[in-house]
Amino acid sequence: MHDQELILRLQRGDEWAFQLMVRRFRKKIFSIAFGMTLDAEESQDIMQEVFLQVYRTIGDFRGDASLATWLHRITVNRSLNWKRRWARRFKWLHVSTDSTDGQPAVEPESDLPSPEIRVANAQTRRQIDNALKMLPDQARTVFVLREIEGLSYEEIADAIGIKLGTVRSRLFHARRRLKEILQPLMEKEE
Amino acid sequence: MRYRFRCLLVLVVLTLSWFVTADALLAQESCRISVDTILAARNDTVVDPQLKRHIGELQSMFNYTSYRLLSSESLNLSVGQSGMVSLPGDRRLKITPQSIHGSRADIALQMMKQKRTVFETQVQLLNQGSLFVGGPTYQNGNLIFKISSAY
């Protein structure tokens, strides 16, 4: 179903259209939320909140952006709000890559048979999480939308409500920061 | 559904308006005048069954012991239109509604015996109300004319 028709049906309170929208965008919204929060449970809650907000406010949707852009916008805002909320509660714990007792700091969750691969995966996960957490919110948001969702600069600008130049600038700063964080790894690989 | 509801509401308002204004609207056209001729006497205690409904009223006003309904006549008269009712003893009552307004009707009454006018009177008769005109002797008693109006 085309976006316009979907929106019209949603505005009429069509339950089936709502179901279709949830099915179409659920993974996308979860992915963005997870990229920003790195918390699967919270990402699920954010996903629900996004859909419920859409259900409540679809009547106000003027169609000045695509449905996807509007969903991106809501998801980013909710994810940032989550971060701010939990930052006050100090939920984010600094997870060290160096474990003093020789055991990995975070239990790996993988169904791969090889323990070495599981450990490697766990380390990679930690590296990614730590590196992302070190990015400022604004840079991280742009980076997540670009690298996870593959949005163009224009789409990112629409989703966050910033200028094209600002998108480029923030993306540049995100990658610069990541390069600094990943520098030791880069030297190790060579 | 919304349309039917509105129609119902309009109907209710119109019905209410009719109840409120019906008196004023209909009263101006015509009225129904009834004249019951009653023979009241003291030589017996017969009460005409047709007067059973009015016996309480009659006994509260008069101290006769018997009441007989001699005649009952009704006229539908428009404003300005005269009607004549024949009464016992060669009497006639000419009735002319002159105006009908609010709860009263202005009625001109002319009582005649043979060809002579006995009296003329202008009365304001209450809707569903009555005027009792009595006194003339007849047979063993007195005649009482109950003049009622309805509009």
């Binding site: - | 209710v12 006018t117 209450l126």
Partner: protein
């Protein structure tokens, strides 16, 4: 021909190269530079690997989610929301008709009560405005409680008269 920027490391340009935001000419220059620049190759590799791992990370997290159950939860919550909101809205909308209907019914009851239940004080059944005639006597009475008007007259030609008829 060697382009003036071919040997210079340009982080911004590298970024745009990563995003495919260079035109054909710029792309060729960048590729030529990368081929000869270890630092840029390292940075490119690291960023590309990072992005790849990040996408895998997100993909793995998404795969562990029961989206079917989540979808049901969302739908139920949305319907509950709709019903409670709808009920309220419907209630408010119905007031548009309920209030005038109630007022009308109230007015009708008031008039009915006033006219038929509450007995107003009786008015005189008849008011004599004028009276002329040739008779012996005339009396006009009004009964005290029901205010029934009685006009009692004695004709001049009457042989018998009843002075105590009333």
């Amino acid at each position: 021909m060697t382009h003036p920027y071919a040997d210079a490391c340009d982080e911004i340009r590298l970024d745009r190269y990563l995003d495919g935001d260079l035109d054909a000419g710029e792309m060729a220059q960048m590729e030529a530079h990368i081929a000869g620049c270890l630092q840029c190759r390292r940075q490119l590799a690291a960023l590309t690997a990072f992005s790849h791992n990040l996408r895998d990370r997100v993909h793995d997290a998404a795969n562990s989610v029961d989206f079917v159950a989540l979808e049901k939860q969302v739908l139920n919550k949305a319907l509950r929301q709709y019903r409670s909101r709808g009920g309220l809205s419907r209630f408010i909308a119905s007031l548009k008709y309920t209030i005038p209907a109630t007022v009308t019914a109230g007015l009708m009851l008031f008039f009915a009560y006033s006219n038929y239940v509450l007995k107003p004080p009786p008015l005189p059944s008849a008011i004599i405005n004028s009276f002329t005639g040739s008779m012996s006597s005339v009396m006009i009475f009004e009964t005290p409680e029901t205010r029934q008007t009685i006009l009692w007259y004695t004709e001049e030609t009457d042989v018998e008269s009843e002075p105590n008829a009333v």
